[in-house]
């Protein structure tokens, strides 16, 4: 092969991801010169739009950054605003929000693992095509996704863009009977879900994008696998308080994209999401979640983003199991424990972070005396991952070419797309994020 032979690989419109993006790779000889993930989703400037808005409008606006993450944005925004206002919502409210978040996780992971990623590994162009060969699996995945939606419907009032959540509480608390039947449905889903672990374990995961990676996730607020917390940890052992997130995470614009990229203050790229959470806190898993973790990661988490699908399945099992547990806790609470917290409007700054399906999500708001937004900043998991996506794509191309110098463009493209999809990127989320003012 001519060492000066230059070629470009372009995926003009990435399929099976949420939003609009493409890939552009330039290879000269066996050197990968350029790897770009372009995001050409139109910008909607949410943070600028928020400026001057009353804090009560914030959640309704910010939830629309992205549908699949809408519950996560809503909950995180509310938590940040509550911090700014000094509101402490009652226990039941926090439980219900956690449950909502678990519902979102179930829906999102079920969709991603079964409908977007599995077709890749099993060799189908889409879940529609896959359903002809694996009708039972697809039907089950849909049922599972529906269950996630049912949780969001019950607690948020709608599967997408919840309406029932308020600063300090809820518009209407779900009826105990509904919580009870939800718990039963979650419990009933657990066994069949465990059944899919074998299918997942049987799928060979290629290692060509594997390389040492830095992971970031929130430290759980309890000594268990949990999706919220106030400390941010890296797999290297650094710890930051969430409201000092800016010391750890830096954002910058890049020429080829409508999305901003993040990196650590040190300039290194990192990964957030299921794999990162398992890497840092997988040992805290209990019950069926632990079982699945041990079967799918017998040697613990190893660096390879293509394993993210497995990690999501582990979390799916965790979410179903934990969801049923939370329902039980909720049912045991006294009836009047969910009254919205009272509060006074005041100026302040609030930062909140949560572990949402795709990774760590940050919301920061500064409010003035009237409760109007002075500045807003949202950093989404996808924006944080983008730099790492490009890093892994580079690695993938390099090792694919090294293994197979005459590799066909089609294979390269598929490889690149698989890397991108493994991250479960949410393009809508990744644009219009960032600090204002």
């Amino acid at each position: 092969m001519n060492p000066q032979h230059a070629r470009t690989v372009t995926v003009s419109h990435l399929a099976r991801i949420e939003g609009h993006g493409g890939i552009h790779v330039r290879i000269v000889g066996d050197v990968v010169r350029e790897v770009n993930m372009d995001v050409f989703e139109g910008s909607r400037y949410y943070e600028a739009l928020l400026k001057g808005k009353h804090f009560l409008e914030v959640q309704g606006i910010i939830t629309r950054v992205c549908a699949i993450c809408s519950a996560s944005h809503t909950v995180t925004a509310l938590s940040a605003i509550e911090k700014a206002l000094g509101v402490e919502p009652p226990e039941r409210v926090l439980h219900l929000r956690d449950l909502l978040e678990l519902g979102a996780t179930i829906e999102s992971h079920a969709l991603h693992v079964f409908a977007l990623v599995l077709p890749d590994f099993l060799g189908f162009e889409s879940v529609i095509a896959m359903s002809a060969k694996y009708p039972a699996e697809v039907a089950f995945a849909l049922k599972l996704k529906q269950l996630g939606n049912r949780v969001q419907q019950l607690i948020g009032g709608r599967a997408i863009h919840p309406v029932n959540l308020l600063v300090g509480g809820f518009g209407r608390l779900p009826a105990p009977a509904d919580v009870g039947s939800l718990r039963d449905a979650l419990r009933a889903a657990l066994d069949p879900l465990m059944g899919t672990v074998d299918l997942m374990a049987s799928v060979a995961v290629p290692d060509w994008p594997a390389q040492p990676t830095l992971y970031v996730a929130l430290k759980p607020y309890q000594d268990a696998y949990r999706l919220r917390g106030d400390m941010l940890c890296t797999s290297r052992g650094e710890v930051y308080a969430v409201d000092r997130y800016a010391d750890l995470v830096r954002e910058h614009t890049v020429e080829h994209s409508h999305a901003k990229h993040s990196a650590l203050a040190s300039g290194e790229s990192y990964m957030v999401g299921s794999l990162a959470r398992l890497k840092l806190w997988g040992h805290l898993l209990a019950g069926r979640g632990r079982e699945a973790f041990q079967r799918l990661f017998p040697d613990g988490v190893v660096d390879n983003v293509l394993l993210n699908g497995r990690a999501q399945l582990v979390e799916l099992i965790y979410a179903v199991e934990r969801g049923a547990e939370l329902c039980n806790d909720l049912l045991a609470m006294p009836a009047d424990a969910g009254k919205p917290a009272e509060y006074k409007v005041r100026a302040g700054r609030g930062v909140a972070a949560r572990e949402v399906p795709r990774g760590t999500l940050f919301h920061e708001y500064v409010l003035d005396d009237d409760g109007r937004v002075v500045s807003a900043n949202v950093i989404t998991p996808t924006a944080q991952n983008l730099a790492n996506v490009e890093r892994d794509m580079r690695r993938a191309v390099e090792s694919l070419i090294a293994r197979e110098p005459d590799i066909r463009e089609q294979r390269l493209k598929l490889g690149l797309e698989m890397v991108v999809r493994a991250y479960d990127p949410c393009i809508s989320c990744s644009v219009h994020v960032v600090r204002d003012g």
């Binding site: 400037y45 529609i128 309406v163 308020l166």
Partner: protein, 264 residues
Amino acid sequence: MPNTKPRVGIFGLTGCAGDQLQILNCEDELIRLTQRLDIVDWVMVKSENDHACRLDIAFVEGVVATQRDLDALKEVRARSTTLVALGTCAVWGGLPAMRNELPREVLARAVYDKGAAHLDTVEARPASHFVPFEILLPGCPIERHEFLKTVNALLAGTRAELPRVPVCWECKASENLCRVVYRGEVCCGAMTRSGCGARCPSHGVACAGCRGPVEEPNYDANITMFKDRGISWMDIARRMETFSAPVWMKLGLEQEVRRESPAR
């Protein structure tokens, strides 16, 4: 009755993908739908897509916010027989059109700072502003049952009739206490078209107007109703402009807000 499978495309312009996700959220009907429709172009879900063939039905979500969006929209229009607008962004402009009075460059600078020069961005407007649509399905996001009704009607050779009456209809049908009457809140129910089952008032929250305005809303009376309860223009406007800002701005909301708060 048409007995061949209609060819279908589903497209997203700039938006949150919520309407496409709502289609995926029709879990019980999804598999059967994919058998009854020949979905040939759906980038969010499929890898092998035909971007050129004629389409019997095309669904389009989102606003036009880039030149690329506009080109894509015109292309889809040209190749489809029945074009369906999915969601409030496509029908009314939704959130992205919320503050169109601010020049795009200013917004871009606010968010992207100095790195903004490379952005392809035009003023966000609803897709329905640029090309004619046969069917408009509002909602942020669309309601599953309305989507299914629409598809089923098209498959049966007719059109679904969607409600045109205001949210108050459904609100009263579910015997909610009125947020305006009993709580003095800014509820957009009387100017918003129903179909959501008055979701928000049924959860004890005022309607934010996510389904867009009814035909001939009584703009003045709605405003007066809130003003008479001592609510400021700013507070009225911040609720009303969320989902169908272009409509209300045209009716005069913008001037009023500016008069009260020139700094805005």
